[in-house]
Symmetry: C2
Subunit: 123 residues, 2 copies
DNA sequence: GCATGTGTGTAGTAAGTAGTACACACTACA
DNA sequence: TGTAGTGTGTACTACTTACTACACACATGC
C-alpha cells in the first residue's frame, strides 16, 4: 500500500485559505502564488497536500504576507516559533522560561490582562 | 592564513565551567565528561574551542545536568530555545507573541513582578 | 480547436546538522 | 621508566532541510 501522505495542519490551512481567495481573484492559483512567493509551483502543491513538510521560516513569512495571514499563527501551524521571538527570549532565558512555564496553565484572559497591563506601562 | 576558529560564547563558557570543576574533582576531564554525556572526547574538545558549533539540544541538556548548570541559560548560550517552551508558545502563538514583544523593553524587575503575580494566582 | 493556464508526478541536489572513529603527542605519577 | 590518562588533529559520514528543474495530463476560454 502506497500511503497517500496525509495533509499536515499547515498544508490544509494553506490550501483552504488560498482556495477561498481564489474564488474572487484568479491570481491565487498555486502557480501564481508560488511565483510571487518565490518557490516552484510543484513544491507549493506538495506542501499544501502534506507531501512535503512546511517550508522555511522565510517562505512561511512570504506566504503569510501574500495570503494576508498572521505570521505568528502561520509559523505556529508550521511547527515553528519566530526567530525574532527566540532572540528576545535568549537575552533573558531564565526570566522568560519561568514566565512562559507559569503562563502555560493560565487562561487566555489572564494572559491578555497582563499584556494590557504591560502595554499601559503599569510598572 | 589558517584562521584559528575563535571560541564561541557557548564553548568558552563550557570550558571555563568544566575546568573550574576539574580543580577539585579530576572526574571533570574532557574525556570523562564526554563519556558521561555520551559523545566523543574530540567532539567535546572541538565544541569547547569553538571549532564546532554548539551541539544538539539533547546534548546541551546532558551537559547542563553534568556540570550543574541551568538548562535554559546554557541553551541560550547555544543559540537555542527549549523545544518545550516553543511548544507552549505554539499553542497560543498570537497571545505569546504579543506578550513577549511587549516585555522585550520591560526591565527585569517588571518581568519578575509579573512572574510573581502569576505564581501567586492573582488573576 | 488551439494556445494558455492549471495542478501534480518524478528525479535530483547543495548545504547544513550532528556527530563518529582513530591516531597522535604530551604529561603525571608510582 | 613505563603505563595510564590527557587534549586534540584528521578524515569521514548518515541524516535532514529546503528546496529546483522539468515534464505530463487535464481544463478552460476565446
Amino acid at each position: 500500500m502506497r500511503d497517500p501522505p496525509q495533509p499536515t495542519p499547515f498544508g490544509a490551512h494553506l490550501r483552504e485559505r488560498r482556495e477561498a481567495l481564489r474564488l474572487t481573484d484568479r491570481r491565487f492559483s498555486v502557480r501564481q502564488v508560488a511565483q510571487r512567493v518565490g518557490v516552484q509551483p510543484s513544491y507549493l502543491s506538495k506542501i499544501e497536500r502534506g507531501e512535503q513538510p512546511p517550508p522555511s521560516e522565510a517562505t512561511v513569512r512570504a506566504l503569510a504576507a501574500e495570503l494576508g495571514e498572521d505570521v505568528d499563527l502561520l509559523l505556529a501551524l508550521a511547527g515553528k516559533v519566530s526567530t525574532e521571538l527566540q532572540a528576545i527570549i535568549r537575552r533573558r532565558p531564565q526570566l522568560f522560561a519561568e514566565l512562559i512555564r507559569q503562563l502555560d496553565e493560565a487562561p487566555d484572559h489572564a494572559v491578555l490582562r497582563i499584556v494590557r497591563e504591560v502595554r499601559d506601562g503599569s510598572w
